[in-house]
């Protein structure tokens, strides 16, 4: 038996996450709800038991050793907002991704592993962009403003369209780094969920959409007119497909 009314409040109370007012409210409830009182005792017992069991597993000595050496050999990728970044990025790309590049030159096609790796990086970049303070780009719903901003930073022209009348409002753009290459990112808002569209030039022919999901994110990747596009969001794949068609009608 559980008290549904108080279930989530109970967790917040137990974890000390409620405001003073809400905590007081819950304490009043607790005085006459035997379910919540019992569950609170159970939660307490469970926590004590987990602490006693010492489940925390600290890093092994082997892991500590193994991270120190490579750190001295590689340098972190510079944030794109810093000056002179392009020269540095070219060097970093050559250094960090030489194995991937060699593989790509050798095979000339994108295999599943490559696709998975790429999707992984793009989803990482998408997640990273959702963190507060991580949006270093331009916030504007004006196509020309965003296009101009991107033009100065990415080394290729990016088609920017606001599809607000179709329910995909342009929020802005930024430049990100995927596999050592600068890519342009357009940010759209779909029912208050952000969709990031990563865009970069390619020499490959047009391709139909490939889709996938990673963690709780959906992505769709396609090529059109010597550009590759990859749209990512945590919303519905139907939305992504609709946005893909809108973009394709202009690309």
């Amino acid at each position: 038996m559980r008290c549904d009314f108080a279930d989530s409040l109970l967790q917040g109370y137990f974890d000390g996450e409620l405001s003073g007012r809400r905590a007081a409210e819950f304490e009043r409830h607790l005085q006459h709800c035997v379910h919540c009182a019992t569950e609170l005792v159970d939660l307490d017992l469970l926590r004590d038991r987990m602490q006693l069991a010492q489940l925390y597993e600290p890093a092994t000595a082997a892991l500590r050793r193994s991270i120190n050496a490579p750190l001295r050999a590689i340098a972190p990728t510079k944030a794109v907002s810093r000056p002179l970044v392009w020269h540095w990025l070219a060097a970093a790309a050559a250094l960090l991704f030489v194995s991937i590049l060699l593989w790509r030159v050798g095979h000339g096609v994108h295999g599943d592993d490559y696709q998975a790796e790429l999707a992984g990086e793009i989803v990482d970049a998408h997640v990273h962009s959702l963190q507060p303070g991580q949006m270093n780009g331009i916030a504007s719903n004006d196509e020309r403003v965003v296009e101009g901003w991107l033009e100065g930073r990415a080394r290729f022209a990016v088609p920017v369209r606001n599809f607000a009348s179709d329910g995909f409002a342009l929020k802005g753009g930024r430049v990100d780094v995927i596999e050592g290459h600068a890519v342009a990112v357009l940010v759209y808002d779909r029912n208050r969920r952000p969709i990031n569209v990563f865009i970069w030039p390619t020499r490959e022919r047009d391709s139909p959409p490939r889709t996938g999901s990673l963690q709780s994110f959906q992505w769709v990747d396609w090529r059109k007119g010597k550009m590759e596009f990859c749209a990512v969001s945590d919303g519905s794949p139907v939305d992504l497909e609709q946005l893909r068609q809108l973009i394709n009608s202009f690309a």
């Binding site: 967790q11 974890d15 996450e17 926590r47 597993e57 972190p76 944030a79 963190q131």
Partner: protein, 176 residues
Amino acid sequence: MNDFDTEDRLRFEQLVLPHVDAAFNLARWLLRSRADAEDVAQEALLRSYRFFRGFHGGDARAWLLQIVRNTCYTWLEKNRPMELNMEFDEELHLQTCATPETLAIAGDDRKRLTLALETLPPRFREILVLRELEGCSYKEIAAITAIPIGTVMSSLSRARRQLHSALVDSPQGARP
């Protein structure tokens, strides 16, 4: 290597490396294996180093754990895709618990708790590990797992209930 790189490396060593234990612990519980956790945590740390200049201050532990978590899920997707779709399965769980092997190794409470935690789906397991072992706030958990705070609360509630029932069902009862 110029001064700037050295400076960055020192900053990384000061801000991020203190959380190597947290990185390994999360990977170990998500992957249910120390050996795999060593590999994946190493990969995640190198990744975080590569992305470090994109980190503009704030909570370094949450930032690192977010990368660890993503790397773990990518690894699971590639190597054990079935696990990601796993739901808490009462019957499967009872079968697993009832075998003589598990009875034999569930000798102490740490092992019993470990087994019980490992029967939980990864999404519930990680949230318990972050809250109970790592001591993260709801806000930090939301940032690491990219889910809204309200969902953190309801997931914690479900995760705790599942863990509790896994322990009650386990061969030697709820308490040692």
